[in-house]
């Protein structure tokens, strides 16, 4: 009986073929877990976003003043440098004057991190390579045939595929590999924040709720023991 059960469970697990967790053409995505409590990282990520992403991608569910409050941005910087448009109010969404459906089909990025996962975005941003067969002249390992051009090429430098399909550096960018990876971590961190601004309060305050219930359980346990003695 017992052996039979082990066999059954074993078979169940065996049905998990390798590659179901595949990350595009890669075996698996490079791991990255966002830390939305690192305000400096979020600010750096916002900087990268404003410089490289906001030309095409909206954040249609995030308000400027929410961003200001959560990322600790001075009001003058928000209004003069970030919004930089007298027609846009701080309570407006971060749509950068782009239409709801972008002409070139760039998706809104507010919830993208929750749809794809932090690992996926982090790996995607770092695996562009030159491919003359593509309209944009570049391709991606995680999302082959992507229509997004390699806008980060100036930072990362050009990459290409070697004979085995491994990515190799072709030319130098303005950042070293480590600097670029860190910069992408900041960007994904910012996107993770944008996908769920409440995550900051959620992860910060959760522990107090749990501590309360630990004390509650302890007190109730003592009370229960007293009552249990009576019916022994």
């Amino acid at each position: 009986m017992r052996y039979f059960l082990i066999l059954l469970f074993g078979l169940g697990l065996y049905t998990f073929p390798a590659g179901e967790n595949k990350c595009g053409t890669l075996e698996k995505c490079d791991p990255y877990k966002a830390n939305v409590h690192d305000i400096n990282s979020l600010q750096r990520g916002l900087g990268t976003y404003m410089n490289y992403c906001s030309t095409c991608h909206t954040l249609e569910l995030l308000r400027w003043n929410r961003l200001q409050r959560d990322l600790d941005i001075p009001e003058t910087i928000l209004i003069e440098d970030l919004i930089a448009n007298p027609d846009i109010k701080p309570a407006d969404y971060m749509t950068f004057g782009l239409p709801e459906v972008s002409v070139i089909g760039a998706p809104d990025l507010t919830l993208r991190t929750r749809v794809r996962g932090e690992d996926w975005i982090y790996t995607y941003l770092r695996t562009f390579y030159d491919d003359p067969n593509q309209l944009t002249n570049s391709n991606n390992l995680v999302y082959p045939g992507t229509s997004m051009p390699n806008v980060l090429v100036g930072l990362q430098g050009a990459q290409e595929l070697d004979k085995d399909g491994k990515i190799i550096s072709k030319s130098k960018g303005s950042l070293t590999k480590e600097e670029f990876d860190n910069s992408m971590k900041d960007l994904v961190n910012f996107l993770a924040y944008a996908s769920e601004p409440a995550r900051i309060t959620r992860e910060k305050n959760g522990i107090f709720v749990i501590l309360f219930f630990i004390v509650f359980t302890a007190v109730m346990w003592l009370l229960y023991r007293e009552y249990a003695k009576e019916i022994k």
Binding site: L8, L61, E203, G206, M220, W221, I231
Partner: protein, 416 residues
């Protein structure tokens, strides 16, 4: 009644018009429950707690939710971002749904283990089975409301099952949807059903479930009838009043439940994609089918059964999809008749024979395996295992009248 005379004048004034004291005594302060039970007997109380969480958070969500095709998805994100503590309400509601099923499965498995369906508790069990059915409907309807990709396509899969019924199917599907495709019309009727109809029915059935239980008395893991031996005041020797003994034993359990519950709500509300699935953060798009449509974990075992049926009965005009639907419905329906399948002379698994024990292990392990398979994409081997597990899911029930009648049981003690 002695207590009526002793109580103060306001209480007796009320009692003469509305029997408050009598009912409190009947259901709480004098209602006898077995002294010795195990942790399995705490799930009922926890289910009440979760039901209340769902109702309260649901009311708050309803204040901000928009039940239209254009507004639904955005209103959920509005709750998550702009409503004060809206994210907490939403995560408590979504985690609460999973908790509801988790506790319900344990609660019912307890019933199967300790014979909580046997005479005279048949109606308690039946009301409970109806509650499972309603909970599944409620969960399904609620899952559609955020109007994400998975909401839309999972609902499509389930609604297409009605379309698979011969002759009336296609018309029935249109009638349920209110449209030729799943649309905003479907969404708003699902909203009405989710917030009014099903919860009202559930409240009524919970009341019936508890009234029936208090009529026949709660069981215990030994299957001993505590009513047999009473003291001079009529209180069973192995029993204790529900309040305060049972209520105070439930409170630490409720505390532990809340620790786990809030750990998920605050630190893993999406449960790695098992509690809130990733594609559901993308608005429903009727032109784009997700790569892999998976149910939430609590439907996975039943979905697996549905998918395991890859063959039909051609000469009767039954397609594989319709047969799958029948077997899927039967997997829940068979629970309703368990009280009449069990012919054993003892209640508890502790005193039943080896075949009953094997049957329970088979049932539980196939349920878990089916659940695991239900969340994964299909391949040939998985389908085969799901088919074997479907047989093992049904076999314990179908063969129950035989093995419970002929197996050797142990003698049940007289006292707890």
């Amino acid at each position: 009644m002695a207590s009526k005379e002793n109580s103060n004048s306001l209480m007796s004034w009320i009692d003469r018009r509305f029997p408050v004291t009598e009912n409190l005594e009947r259901h709480l302060t004098k209602h006898p429950v077995p002294k010795k039970v195990n942790f399995y007997y705490l799930f009922g109380a926890l289910l009440m707690v979760v039901f209340m969480i769902q109702i309260i958070t649901g009311i708050w969500l309803m204040m901000f939710y928009t039940n239209t095709e254009e507004g639904a998805f955005a209103s959920v994100e509005y709750i998550m971002r702009d409503v004060e503590y809206g994210w907490l309400m939403r995560y408590m509601h979504s985690t609460g749904a999973s908790a509801f099923f988790f506790l319900m499965y344990f609660h019912m498995f307890r019933g199967l283990l300790y014979g909580s369906y046997q005479k005279p508790k048949e109606l308690v069990w039946l009301f409970g089975c109806f509650l499972l059915f309603l909970l599944m409907a409620e969960g399904f309807l609620g899952y559609v409301l955020p109007w994400g990709q998975m909401s839309y396509w999972a609902a499509n899969v389930i609604l297409s099952l009605f379309g698979a019924i011969p002759y009336i199917g296609p018309d029935l599907q249109v009638w349920i949807q209110g449209d030729f495709v799943l649309s905003g019309i479907t969404l708003s009727r699902f909203f009405a059903l989710h917030v009014v109809v099903v919860p009202l029915l559930m409240i009524a059935l919970v009341v019936f479930h508890i009234f029936a239980l208090h009529e026949v008395g709660a069981g215990n893991p030994e299957g001993v009838d505590i009513e047999k031996h009473r003291d001079s005041k009529g209180m069973p020797l192995d029993g204790a009043p529900f309040h305060p003994y049972k209520t105070f034993s439930a409170l630490p359990a409720i505390g532990i439940f809340f620790i786990v519950f809030f750990a998920i709500v605050f630190f893993a509300p999406t449960g790695g994609g098992y509690l809130i699935e990733k594609p559901n953060f993308e608005e429903a798009d009727f032109l784009k089918t997700p790569d892999h449509i998976a149910p939430v974990w609590y439907y996975a075992p039943f979905y697996s059964i549905l998918r395991a049926i890859t063959f039909g009965i051609p000469f009767l005009g039954i397609t594989s999809k319709f047969l799958g639907f029948i077997i899927f419905a039967a997997s829940i329906a068979i629970l309703f008749i368990v009280p009449w399948l069990d012919r054993s002379n003892v209640q508890s698994i502790r005193y039943k024979g080896i075949y009953s024990k094997i049957a329970m292990i088979l049932f539980a392990s196939s349920f878990i395996t089916l659940g695991y398979l239900g969340t994964k994409p299909v391949n040939e081997l998985r389908t085969l295992i799901a088919q074997i597990c479907t047989v093992f899911y049904f076999a314990p029930f179908i063969l129950m009248p035989i093995y419970t009648k002929y197996e050797k049981t142990l003698e049940v003690p007289d006292r707890l």
